[in-house]
Symmetry: C2
């Protein structure tokens, strides 16, 4: 039985949507534990009552320090204390990261935890890492992100020998900013199956099994892809319904557009892994639907089954090497 | 009569496509001058014969130095020599930048030229600057980019008092990397109508009249938007044509999808301005259609009419101030 601590208070949609998702995910193999206010009706799921809530706009470090009894901090602590095998939170990403760094701590040898997001690319899923944990990075961080991304692609996406590309502004090795030029050299000299640079245009097409970048660029790019999908589909609907023939056509293509939406739906994965910590953390979207929460919990359980934390540790632990940070 | 030097040799589609575009743009007000090999048939357009060609993959500085008689270098030089009012090239962006820096030189006070790209956002066009000229920037560069972007939005897009947002990973002022945090302070203290940060998700929706960023992030984000549009529309077509009902529906929505494509079509503007030089340079896509070339030439002519170079100079020239680069 895999126990997943679920932070019910951090979602934009309110605790009931999170609890509904937890109920969907509950099974013979998965036991969600709901962390949140004492008044919640968890419909039979195990419930740990907490008294505080971390807001989306709170400064991460302050929130973590001031709110030891928040659902977010308590849920992360449950993993640190061995009371749960993984944690899922749709809350404040910075606060989850802060709580993870202090309560779970980094895997030996890992300099920076990073966010790995599965992208529903046309050629098959790929992993974008870092999608937002580290705004300012050094080249050696990117090499570690790539290594963690490979573990994710292998264990979670089931890709036997994942290849890696570096997000840049041209495929040639000499294209990019200083960080990318340095990271390119490190990646090329590494044991990874590094295939060179890729560009923003190939993210949704399927650039590589693992696309590595710093957290600032990764977050901007990921949101550009998500926003463009949303704006484009909305604009298409507006254009289609502007005429009667178009509206009829719209009805006829509805199954096709549903299939496409289902493939692109962020709810399919429901969450992103925060990799590099000594405990499994899945960050869900702030406005996650119950389905997205359920899938995020399943994603967390899968990470426990495949021992993602242990495998990241095995790839990156370098106890003999002096830590030069 | 506005004379526009057109580099006919740099396009992926070959010189005839460029010449066809130049012929479309030729009018009582616009006189394209074709730079390219002596064998070209320019169909009556003025022709300056050149003997060399800069390839897309050549290193910019090398190409510029080694190929003084290339169509690209000669076309830029024509502006420097006063023989043309502006230049349009679908060629190697780095080489155009190198030629511009040496032959045209920067406007007094401008530290870095930047690429301004019009984005066909849903709420109306906006300008992304820098879209790729400068991979590594400092905060003061971003402030100058924003100022040049405002000139572009005003003169070319006709927006009376353009507002400005800074591309980041959250709307809160404390979100971002070091560069963005510093640039945020400079922008907030400036005379510009600065509205704070914006995110990648709002680029195609319409985040602001001017979206400012460094050239690395801007290029990744722009290509992410372009690539997502392309992948999504292709995937939708594949899904639609998979069934008979879908195919019929696809015919019925064709006018709607054409309207949408027309709005999103990069050919509508045809090119991006390279701002901050003492001469007007428009960079066209490498695979520009004749229509895109014609529109890029018209865009260049419009910049001449509105004295974009003079206005950038008036906003940024600081002859008294010591240049600390």
């Amino acid at each position: 039985m895999i126990r997943v601590a679920v932070d019910a208070m951090g979602s934009d949609r309110g605790a009931p949507a999170v609890i509904e998702g937890a109920q969907q995910a509950a099974s013979g193999a998965i036991e969600p534990v709901v962390f949140g206010s004492a008044e919640l009706d968890t419909g039979g799921l195990e419930h740990v009552a907490t008294t505080q809530v971390v807001g989306m706009d709170e400064k991460p470090a302050d929130a973590f320090r001031a709110k030891a009894d928040s659902s977010l901090v308590r849920a992360v602590k449950a993993v640190a204390d061995g009371e749960a095998d993984a944690v899922v939170s749709p809350g404040n990403t910075g606060a989850i990261l802060a709580a993870g760094l202090v309560l779970l701590r980094r895997v030996d040898g890992v300099r920076r935890p990073a966010i790995a997001v599965p992208i529903p690319a046309r050629k098959g899923p790929s992993v974008l890492i870092d999608a937002g944990a580290n705004s300012d990075c050094r080249a050696e961080h990117l090499l570690q992100f790539a290594t963690m991304g490979v573990v994710f692609a292998k264990e979670i996406l089931g890709i036997a020998r994942p290849n890696v590309r570096l997000l840049s502004i041209g495929e040639e090795p000499e294209k990019g900013n200083r960080l990318v030029l340095e990271a390119h050299e490190l990646l090329a000299a590494s044991e990874l199956d590094f295939r060179g640079n890729t560009e923003g245009r190939d993210l949704l097409e399927g650039a590589a099994d693992v696309v590595v970048t710093d957290g600032f660029t990764g977050n901007v790019a990921l949101k550009a892809v998500e926003g463009t999908i949303r704006t484009l589909l909305e604009a298409l609907r507006t254009e289609i319904t502007a005429t009667t023939a178009g509206t009829l056509g719209g009805l006829l293509i509805r199954p096709a557009s549903r299939r496409l939406r289902a493939r692109l739906d962020p709810d399919t994965y429901g969450g992103a892994y925060l990799l590099g910590l000594r405990g499994l953390v899945v960050i869900a979207h702030g406005n996650s639907s119950p389905t997205a929460i359920a899938n995020a919990i399943r994603l967390a359980a899968r990470g426990v089954e495949h021992d993602v934390v242990g495998r990241v540790s095995a790839r990156l632990a370098q106890p003999q090497r002096a830590e030069i940070v």
